[in-house]
């Protein structure tokens, strides 16, 4: 079986079929990432479409020394989905429950397992104050903006911004 890193290298070398094979191997996981951020299948499909065009263009920029191919692919998809969420006006607070984020529960970080990196991150997240951790998880997994996290956690916007920034700093120290 060919690894995702080998497929990215083949794609960068101009092998056209490599992108289809990457799609076959990764699209279910990657669509899940986009759908968690956008919570709209049509929009998530648009994000995955844009992401795969970007992957086709940028495959040569993947550097195996900097991380796993799966993580790189996931990052491309996340940023495509986040761009779409921004275009759809996520920074504007809304009272419409269909547009708001009331149904989004903070993801459970207990599920982080399976690799040393995942378990280390779980332990470091454990050490954060709860709302701090929830803000980071809601932002990463569900693409919530600062105002949306503030609304979801019923905290002032300024507090959320400061907590998230401090939370990231604590995480970095914990993981160093």
């Amino acid at each position: 079986m060919t690894s995702q890193a080998e497929l990215l290298a083949a794609l960068a070398a101009g092998e056209r079929d490599a992108l289809r094979r990457l799609y076959e191997a990764q699209s279910v996981r990657l669509f899940g990432i986009a759908q968690a951020i956008l919570r709209d299948r049509d929009a998530a499909a648009d994000a995955l479409h844009d992401a795969f065009l970007s992957i086709a263009r940028r495959a040569g920029q993947f550097d195996p020394a900097r991380g796993a191919a799966e993580a790189w692919l996931g990052a491309v998809v996340r940023h495509a989905a986040l761009d779409l969420a921004r275009k759809r006006g996520r920074e504007r607070p809304t009272d419409d429950p269909a547009l708001g984020d009331a149904p989004v529960a903070p993801p459970q970080h207990d599920a982080l397992e399976g690799s040393a990196e995942a378990e280390r991150l779980r332990r470091c997240l454990d050490a954060l104050p709860e709302k701090n951790r929830q803000g980071i998880l809601l932002a990463f997994v569900h693409g919530l903006s600062h105002p949306q996290v503030a609304a979801r956690l019923e905290l002032p916007l300024g507090t959320v911004k400061a907590w998230i920034r401090r939370g990231l700093l604590t995480l970095r120290e914990c993981l160093a």
Binding site: R16, A36, L48, R66, A71, A118, V141, G143
Partner: protein, 230 residues
């Protein structure tokens, strides 16, 4: 973030972390992205955060994408979709245009040959630089295919498969597997060649497509059109 002003290492790392987390607004995120190409320190900080937070990707539940999504991606890339398009897209039209120019030249050459002259013909090609196949449908109903120049090699466990899609049909019909040298005749009565019929070659696993439909990428494609001089 204010323009291209220098950042302290702490500011840079915080900015990179928020970029990866996704909390920057559209203008801030665009500014970071624009800066990544030229600011190596910022790019390294972003890569560090992508690696640190990557395990969080697994918290999104996997979900199957809609079925037509790959075809849409392939079409946007200017590649043929895995399944043939029934309605012409701009991309097909361009292709037809390209083949017509080549076809006109080849047709002029063909009519000089002894009878029977082909009734219908097309040239299958992917781009003007690549090798092409000439396809002729004769009055006898046979479809003859010949490589105009040597077709490139196929991967060891792959084979070229020939298909026809009649106008209005939804599923292509397999016409057989092509020998490596690229010369092939489809016996009369296998299909009824008609103008507008799509002829394509896909790359398939050894033994041909396991599903009876094209599964691999389309290597060559063209539409049958009346040959000149007949």
């Amino acid at each position: 973030m204010s323009g291209a002003s220098p950042l302290t290492p702490e500011e840079r790392d915080a900015l990179a972390g928020e970029y990866v987390l996704g909390t920057l607004d559209a203008a801030e995120a665009a500014a970071v992205r624009a800066r990544l190409a030229t600011d190596g320190a910022l790019a390294a900080a972003v890569a560090g955060w992508e690696a640190r937070l990557a395990p969080l990707q697994s918290l999104a539940p996997p979900e199957a994408p809609p079925p037509g999504l790959w075809d849409r991606i392939a079409a946007s890339l200017g590649e043929a979709p895995a399944r043939p398009a029934v309605t012409p897209r701009p991309f097909w039209r361009l292709w037809a245009l390209g083949s017509t120019a080549v076809a006109a030249g080849l047709a002029a050459f063909l009519v000089l040959r002894p009878a029977p002259a082909p009734q219908l013909m097309t040239v299958l090609l992917t781009s003007p630089e690549q090798s092409a196949f000439l396809v002729e449908a004769g009055r006898d109903g046979a479809l003859r295919l010949a490589a105009v120049n040597a077709p490139g090699p196929v991967p060891p466990d792959r084979v070229r498969q020939l298909w026809a899609l009649a106008p209005g049909a939804t599923a292509p019909v397999s016409l057989g597997l092509l020998p490596p040298e690229g010369r092939f005749t489809v016996a009369p009565g296998t299909i009824r060649p008609e103008p507008g019929m799509l002829i394509e070659i896909t790359l398939e696993p050894s033994g041909g497509s396991p599903t009876g439909r094209p599964t691999g990428p389309i290597l060559f494609i063209g539409r049958l059109a009346p040959a000149r001089g007949t």
